[in-house]
Symmetry: C2
Subunit: 472 residues, 2 copies
């Protein structure tokens, strides 16, 4: 490399704000340019910019956000039970109702993997004998659909919950509030990724008949319930971000439950231990239920711009905001930048899908990427990139976790409480770590990677946000 | 702060090599001083410096060291068995022989915790009913002592091995060579820390009668033996350095063995799972046995200056070097810079003790500190300090592990193969992470921290090292 041309008789220093291209001619002329990464707030939209200005540093919003985040932080998610879905959500037993991931969507608009998972669930419940019979049943309007999120539940990927599936039950120690998730099927050919086949159905049947009951007995025989936040806190010290990497949390939880499972061999405890011995995604569903419980606590605070859900159905994605009630603010599902299993590529990938991004809303996943450098390795990143992602996310969040700490950031708390205002002010989309499903029904997982929550959701949320008046 | 006095009409830049004090006057005068951390090789000893010079870049030494490290790296430590010590080391059943940690030491010179552990082992074997009776027996010369290392075994802290204690058996996949270690008693009041009492003795009896047999049955019923290197590789991605932090490796190993343990409830499998559910030191002894097996493979290569053992008996510490046969090069045991349990302090601490530093010789522990920032937190350090420790250790080692990688150093291999020449050239003592015993017999663990292998051991080893002539 040759030395840069020196046009000035003493070193020139400049600061360039925004569009990077303006720095180039100065650098070429030998100046030392400090670039500031700035984009116009609210994407340069004038009306939205005014709303944003009105909400910025607004005392009612500030205190509402503090309240919302404190409620999230105060949640202590205890693992209290595993029961068939119909027992904890009776509405599932009363009609042909299936819950699905993401914001509301009709059968006709569902993506391939979700249609396959619907067919699998219909067969599991005995409503149909074949995938095509199940599809016909859905076509006829006989099956009703609702988001898991509308029933205090979350499901990864397609996220289908049917009456006989065992759900794990997480309860807040203080308020008694409860949230639910399915049990994890493992990796590869799973219903949640849209895989279908005898192996998939046989595993689902076994989960209902043996895994669920033995786990239930084990959990209820623990001297005191496992606090999932304690497990998450340990796992963040151990390379997990508790969305796309759950190796440590899975091993810690199995180790805790192992003696009680071993005591219930008649119910399937030993088979359960065999199933769990190498299931490194096992904890994901526990992390999701704990995250749903915490974010539910933060929901419904008037004037709060804190995001309390981000969920994807494979076609649309949507957010809910603490201060705007139960409305979903949606956008088309984004693509995932990922690493693919051999033989697959981006053209095979379904867009972003699943309720699992509730973990990001809770400060885990992409927001705790600093804890899990192995994840950024998927997409060619370094440990410095992982730390940077968390530090960036800290600029769009209201607070920091106290118990959940990140070792590579010298034990700083995970950033938590995505602020719609901050996302739009910086035009910075939340980072999500995720798995990738094949877009065709029946195939399953084909990779894993990183994506973002689209800015459009936040734009719509801000447009709908009631600007509070000053004063009492 | 006021600006420094400016004595020169343009910025003065200086490089200062060695003694830091020389930089101060220049800095006070406004110069920008770059300090180079340099110490005279071999502590400035002229004769030793000559030996060092003769060995530096010597082709026979270089190729011998490469060979020694390759043998270490090629070891695949399979967990094949757990058996009473007398069955794998028959010499322990033939006489009143006890093995102990560190280089050789007579009963009269043993430190408090080791004397207590000897008394406990004598009672466990039925040689004495009380600690004082056991001490009298030892005084009479009735008990023989030998280092664990002389029997292909290692024991943490006092490291006492007696005939009825269960030993884990690790076998190299390629050569069939075997190494042994005791099973871990947990934390706090344990014989290895010199604690005595009914609780300690009851646990030891249970370990022989129930834990050992159920583990044996579980391990021998695995479809294929667990490769401990795979567990170590995973654990290094999960915050363990596999000496003083073993949380991840312990949980991973228990998860793997859980189904087989559950199947052997008649032998004690469920009790074993209960004991293991919160024993976060459990894997230490497996890490030590795997490290002993690997470093044994690297021992005995003519002309190699690679260290193949570092061990401490609480009074002396010693190293063995690949190319100098079975001789120990010893120095007084160092103090430990540590964090103490409430009520204890440095005045209560026994000097450095145990065979566990075999993990550092194998590139784990202090050499993999970058993997475990939680450890440096003990002594007030940061994650950057942890990374720096590993990078420093890489300057005194011959190679890098291939399978054992450090995430915070962008997946660089752990530095392995301590080179006596490099230690003396830089006067840089190897870093050791360790537990701390009370110096009085009968009390047990009082803390954990960081220490160093004394330079004196390396000086003695170099003095004894035969300088090879050039040519065939």
């Amino acid at each position: 490399m040759t030395a840069p041309k020196q046009l000035f008789d003493r070193p020139l220093r400049a600061v360039n704000v925004g569009v990077e291209e303006f720095a180039r001619p100065l650098e070429a002329a030998g100046a030392e340019v400090t670039s500031v990464d700035w984009r116009p707030p609210a994407g340069g939209d004038r009306e939205l910019g005014l709303t944003l200005a009105n909400l910025t540093a607004h005392p009612l919003v500030e205190s509402a956000n503090e309240e919302a985040v404190n409620r999230i932080l105060d949640t202590q998610p205890l693992l209290v039970d595993v029961r068939p879905a119909r027992e904890v959500l009776p509405e599932l037993g009363e009609a042909r109702l299936l819950l699905h991931a993401g914001p509301p969507i009709e059968w006709e608009r569902m993506c391939g993997p979700m249609r396959a998972a619907v067919a699998g669930a219909a067969m599991l419940e005995g409503w149909a004998d074949t995938p095509s019979a199940a599809e016909r049943l859905a076509d006829s309007g006989e099956i009703k659909f609702a988001p898991c999120h509308h029933h205090d539940a979350v499901g990864p990927m397609a996220g289908i919950i049917s009456a006989s599936m065992p759900l794990l039950v997480v309860q807040d120690a203080r308020t008694g509030r409860r949230a639910y998730s399915t049990l994890n099927e493992g990796q590869g050919r799973c219903l949640r990724y849209g895989a279908l086949g005898e192996d998939v159905m046989r595993r689902l049947t076994w989960m209902g008949e043996r895994l669920g009951p033995s786990l239930r007995a084990a959990i209820r025989s623990m001297p005191e319930p496992v606090n999932l936040k304690t497990v998450i806190a340990q796992a963040l010290q151990m390379g997990d971000e508790c969305h796309s990497r759950n190796v440590a949390a899975s091993a810690l939880l199995v180790r805790l439950l192992a003696p009680a499972l071993a005591r219930h061999r008649e119910l399937g405890g030993i088979e359960a231990l065999e199933f769990l011995a190498d299931n490194n995604y096992w904890f994901l569903n526990f992390s999701m239920a704990a995250s749903k419980l915490a974010t539910m606590a933060g929901h419904g605070v008037a004037h709060s711009t804190v995001v309390t859900a981000f969920a994807r159905n494979g076609v649309d994605v949507g957010i809910r905001v603490s201060g705007t009630g139960d409305e979903w603010f949606t956008a088309p599902a984004a693509d995932v930048d990922g690493l693919y299993f051999p033989g697959y590529g981006p053209a095979d990938a379904n867009p972003d899908i699943g309720d699992s991004a509730i973990t990001e809303v809770h400060g885990l996943g992409g927001f705790s990427l600093a804890a899990a450098p192995a994840i950024v390795g998927f997409v060619g990143g370094t440990t410095a990139d992982a730390r940077r992602a968390t530090e960036e996310m800290a600029t769009i969040t209201v607070g920091r976790h106290r118990e959940l700490q990140l070792p590579t950031l010298d034990f700083a708390g995970s950033p938590v409480g995505i602020d719609v205002r901050a996302v739009l002010d910086a035009s910075l989309e939340p980072v999500i770590t995720t798995g990738i499903s094949h877009r065709e029904p029946g195939i399953g997982q084909i990779g894993a990677g990183i994506t973002h929550a689209p800015l459009e959701c936040f734009v719509k949320a801000l447009r709908a946000f009631p600007v509070p008046r000053y004063g009492p």
